[in-house]
Symmetry: C2
């Protein structure tokens, strides 16, 4: 096969992701992407077709990475600790960067990009995956016993709450507030939030 792609797709998608994350999908134009990636607009059109296609590729990587982080944070048998670590992960993800980038999924969900059913489906996929991961963790017998709500519903509550945290981050930009909110939710969901201090 001759006529070979001159740019490194990994790099381009990473730069594109960074831009989408920072600016939001709707606010990012093809010229923006061209400038950020160093690839000419015409080449991007040729390689991917349109902005949505680029976004979908970038988002898939993002989603996979985030899901891995979430799953890793959900190990253990102490419900309070599991959830605290999970929310820490989520909050770290959305407060990273300067200024903080916020949560890509949430920004995308609210910025009109959902006119595309394909994008909506991808966002749903990530949230479904996240819900499943949380539900699995909360369903472990040792964990389940500590909950005030059954695991499936608790998982829905937790994932919904992560979305709320993402919005609050945008509006208040106060990391501590997010932690306090998460802590409050955990207190409600776990039977004995504070038995001692350490283990």
């Amino acid at each position: 096969m001759a006529g070979v792609r001159q740019f490194d797709e990994e790099t381009v998608l990473a730069e594109a992701l960074a831009l989408f994350w920072r600016q939001g999908v709707a606010a990012t134009s093809m010229p923006d992407l061209a400038a950020a990636t160093g690839v000419q607009r015409g080449s991007l059109y040729n390689a991917y077709g349109d902005k949505e296609a680029i976004f979908l590729r970038a988002y898939d990587r993002y989603a996979a990475g985030l899901l891995d982080l979430c799953r890793a944070s959900l190990e253990g048998d102490d419900a309070g600790r599991i959830l605290a670590r999970f929310f820490e992960t989520i909050i770290a993800n959305m407060t990273a960067g300067a200024p903080p980038r916020g949560c890509l999924t949430t920004k995308t969900a609210a910025d009109g990009s959902l006119a595309s059913a394909t994008i909506q489906a991808r966002l749903r996929d990530l949230l479904d995956g996240m819900t499943a991961a949380v539900a699995a963790a909360l369903s472990r017998p040792a964990v389940r016993r500590q909950l005030t709500v059954d695991p499936a519903q608790a998982a829905l509550v937790v994932v919904t709450f992560t979305r709320g945290i993402a919005v609050m981050e945008r509006v208040y930009g106060d990391r501590r507030q997010l932690m306090r909110a998460a802590e409050g939710l955990i207190a409600g969901l776990v039977a004995r939030p504070r038995k001692g201090r350490g283990a």
Copy 2:
């Protein structure tokens, strides 16, 4: 005073609000507003200056109305009922319209309009007001006793959760899921969610 405004400001702001709500602030242009309100673009510039000014005026009305609805829903002494009615109000607000418009505050928060500190401040004002209203309701002694978390923190959790519901509405568009999520949260925050059925 001669040279008098030819359009009805109430009507114009109502139409503008409807458009912002449906399309999102960032996705709404001055020509869009002109078309929707029937007022020429030049007149809008003359009367208000720019899109942001129009949005702020429309949003203030929206915020005031929504806050009133929220406060009204928070009366009573049964924590579970109060919260259920509050979430019903919130969910009704964001699932109204065909297709549902979602939550204006949340859409605005995530669509890049927060580049404007003024807009961010207004969103914060509404959420502050909502948090205060919920905190006040949850602080009533009879209510407070039923909670698993102290009122101030519970209010933060509740308001954060409303933002999460708004995002979930965008992604899933499933009213029942929102109700189930809210119900789950209430179960966690209220000590005895189900003692009987009625009072």
